[in-house]
């Protein structure tokens, strides 16, 4: 028999709108983190994720997305987008899900990478891979939309997978 895993580490359910969500004191005992975000925002925006609240200009991403009529792929490198964070999706006013895999988050021998799908019936069906050019272990996550606020009722669940 294997080792049961996929453990809920922390959950946040917003009772009022917020500008950001933070996960603190992330245990260092897992290999990967899986972040599920579900809910709405006051406006369409980009979800940025800053590991350890790092606002350094060391982020980049590559994405593919369908708008409901067109398909495109884009990227952003730093310096440039740089200080915002890891791109993990696009919240909207009618509801979206972001499923984010943060790989080997405690491994100090590599930069930190996340790959995510983000979908909603209002705006995009999309996927994105992001890079944080730091070898530091991730001990916290700061999540915020590029505009507007995260609506009440939105949920953020952080799971850990052992390896």
């Amino acid at each position: 028999m294997g080792t049961p895993t996929y453990t809920l580490i922390q959950e946040q359910i917003l009772t009022s709108s917020q500008a950001a969500v933070t996960f603190l004191s992330i245990p260092q005992i897992y290999e990967d983190l899986v972040l599920e975000i579900s809910g709405t925002a006051s406006t369409g925006a980009t979800y940025w994720m800053r590991p350890n609240s790092d606002a350094s200009d060391i982020y980049s991403y590559t994405q593919i997305y369908g708008t409901g009529s067109t398909v495109a792929s884009g990227r952003a490198t730093s310096p440039g987008v740089g200080t915002a964070g890891m791109d993990i999706g696009y919240p909207a006013t009618t509801g979206t899900i972001q499923l984010v895999n943060i790989m080997s988050y405690a491994n100090t021998n590599m930069f930190k990478m996340a790959i995510a799908t983000h979908t909603g019936s209002e705006n995009y069906a999309a996927a994105v891979v992001s890079l944080w050019r730091s070898t530091a272990a991730i001990t916290s996550l700061y999540l915020y939309p590029s505009g507007g606020t995260i609506s009440a009722g939105s949920t953020f669940r952080l799971y850990g997978l052992v390896a």
């Binding site: 028999m1 294997g2 080792t3 049961p4 895993t5 996929y6 453990t7 809920l8 580490i9 922390q10 959950e11 245990p27 290999e31 990967d32 980049s60 991403y61 590559t62 994405q63 593919i64 997305y65 398909v71 495109a72 792929s73 884009g74 990227r75 490198t77 730093s78 895999n101 790989m103 080997s104 491994n107 021998n109 590599m110 930069f111 990478m113 790959i115 799908t117 996927a127 994105v128 891979v129 992001s130 890079l131 050019r133 070898t135 997978l161 052992v162 390896a163």
Partner: protein
Amino acid sequence: MSITRFSTGFVGDTALAGNTSFSASDFELISTIRVGSAGASSITFSNIPQEYKHLQIRALTRGTDTGSVGIGNQFIIINGDTASTTYARHEIIGNGSTAYSQGGSSTSTYGNFYAVGCAAGGNTANTFNINIIDILDYTSSKNKTIKYFTGADFNTSNGMLSLGSILWLNTSAITSFGLDPWAPLFSQYSKFSLYGIRG
């Protein structure tokens, strides 16, 4: 005395007989392979337990081909099958400037048995390609559809991601799963974890 799970704040019954039993996850770690300083020409999960319904492989891969950039080929080898006519493949790709779909039969350019992707050794240091591979009904007598979600960003123009699948034209249960880079070796810190999902 109640049991409190610190990470979730869950408070439940004790584990005494007669109480509701603690329910473990049906997502289980089977095995992890970590590549050491010598590198690895391939990795294989052998003797895969047949007690699960689905498998998931979560991997970070980088090759030792320091003269190359971007995402290189990476072979999957199921049950030791290296025949060139038993794997078909189809995928959608975003490379940062263009989105496209490609694929073909087992005898086409996209067949053979390479797919998924390994970050080349000449990319930005400390970067790896992410591979999340799902195989449903791996013990069934169906042909096997292997789903993959893979990608890497290097802070250059070489990053890409793809969502795709491989068809293994074989009805045998999967008992081993291997990955083999196009590069000479997988580099140190490449990591491969195999999970089983009960059903």
